[in-house]
Symmetry: C2
Subunit: 238 residues, 2 copies
């Protein structure tokens, strides 16, 4: 299996992903939150690129809850921001959510032409690797980045996924996949201290959301794998 | 001093570099070769984006030697390819060279609008850091990459430069600068073994140029700092 890590979603524009499995990562916090919401019983999450787009999609879907942030702050009037702790069972079970975030939804949509598009994070790392390798395709891990710039925490998670896959099957790594692997190896014993030095980490620290930082870096809390298919994020095989 | 690492030169298009010092890195092999040639007495190197461009520039300069490669292979009819070992004192002293390489010259030209544009490498790492910080500006390290993709070896060198600067002055690191620092810390004790797993490293290995790989990863062979100014690469203050 060849593994490539795309450090910014805009790089995917130049790629033919149709024969690749993609895993999308936006660790602080969209993909971590999506995994959490679906693990807590949310029916489906529809990603939207803008507030207008979210409104339009909601009018097509029917009864929905809105989730979204800009610069880590909840959008006014929305039911949810982007903290995974908000998406508890009581609030999300059986519900449809329309979500628009600064970076995560852009990355998910950038990967939509892949053979399969899975939602990854630390909190479902092993599960998403297991799922990704079942298809016998090459793997492209898409890091969401932040406002078009490289994000440390996404690449750290990419490194964990590469490490997990390398331990279980024969892999050929691109330079960026190799870099992610080395980066994770260097940081894994001080993951919170390292990730909080990142731009998003600092922002969450300043917003007093260290609980989010620690949660988003916790590996394997869940065994579910959300898939983006036909415009919606749902659990695989549901 | 803020330090940013640009993982691909195309990212520089979106940046205003006019108040930043840039260091350009193309470790395998353009910037290593440029530093070597100038250390060996070459008068100036004029980077050209294409073979046609090289021809045109040469006709303006007068007596020149041509250097260049495509996919690590010397361009037919040129005096030099892109191996630093070719650029010995006997051949380059006092000469003007026009150089076109696959990635390095693109990166150098991408950084030409900076306040100062220096040519960096492992072989002049300490010297280029010393020079870069003298200007009291923020620093942008531009990695050439390979055919528009991320290159491991360029980012490893960026990590060494970040480490050297961090040891000597107060620095604020972007996520990519922090990642480069961590990457270098992980790989520094096995630099050759790590870098030879990269795409360019493998290619040079296949071409039986392990001498180039080892040379290009040797820190501080020289204390000179080439600067790109008015279309030419010359030694600073010359």
């Amino acid at each position: 299996m060849k593994i490539d890590v795309i450090l910014l979603p805009k790089e995917t524009a130049a790629l033919d992903l149709s024969d690749s499995v993609c895993i999308v990562l936006d660790i602080f916090r969209a993909t971590t939150t999506i995994v959490t919401a679906l693990a807590n019983g949310c029916k489906a999450i529809t990603p939207a690129l803008s507030i207008e787009d979210a409104q339009k999609l909601a009018s097509q879907i029917g009864a929905v809850l809105f989730a979204g942030e800009r610069q880590s702050i909840k959008i006014e009037g929305y039911e949810f921001g982007n903290s995974p702790f908000e998406f508890c069972k009581e609030k999300v079970t059986g519900r449809n959510i329309v979500m628009t975030t600064t970076n995560g939804t852009i990355a998910i949509k950038a990967a939509e032409k892949a053979y399969r598009t899975f939602i990854g994070s630390f909190v479902n790392a092993k599960a998403v690797c297991r799922q990704a390798k079942q298809h016998g395709k090459d793997l492209v891990i898409v890091c969401a980045g932040t406002d078009g710039l490289f994000s440390l925490e996404d690449t750290l998670c990419a490194g964990l996924l590469v490490q997990l896959l390398k331990a279980e099957c024969e892999v050929t790594l691109s330079d960026s996949a190799l870099a992610a692997l080395l980066l994770y190896a260097q940081a894994k014993d001080t993951l919170v201290e390292t990730a909080v030095q990142s731009r998003n980490g600092k922002r969450l620290y300043d917003l007093r959301r260290m609980d989010d930082v620690e949660y988003c870096l916790s590996a394997d809390l869940f065994t579910i794998v959300p898939q983006y298919i036909a415009g919606k994020i749902v659990l695989e095989n549901k």
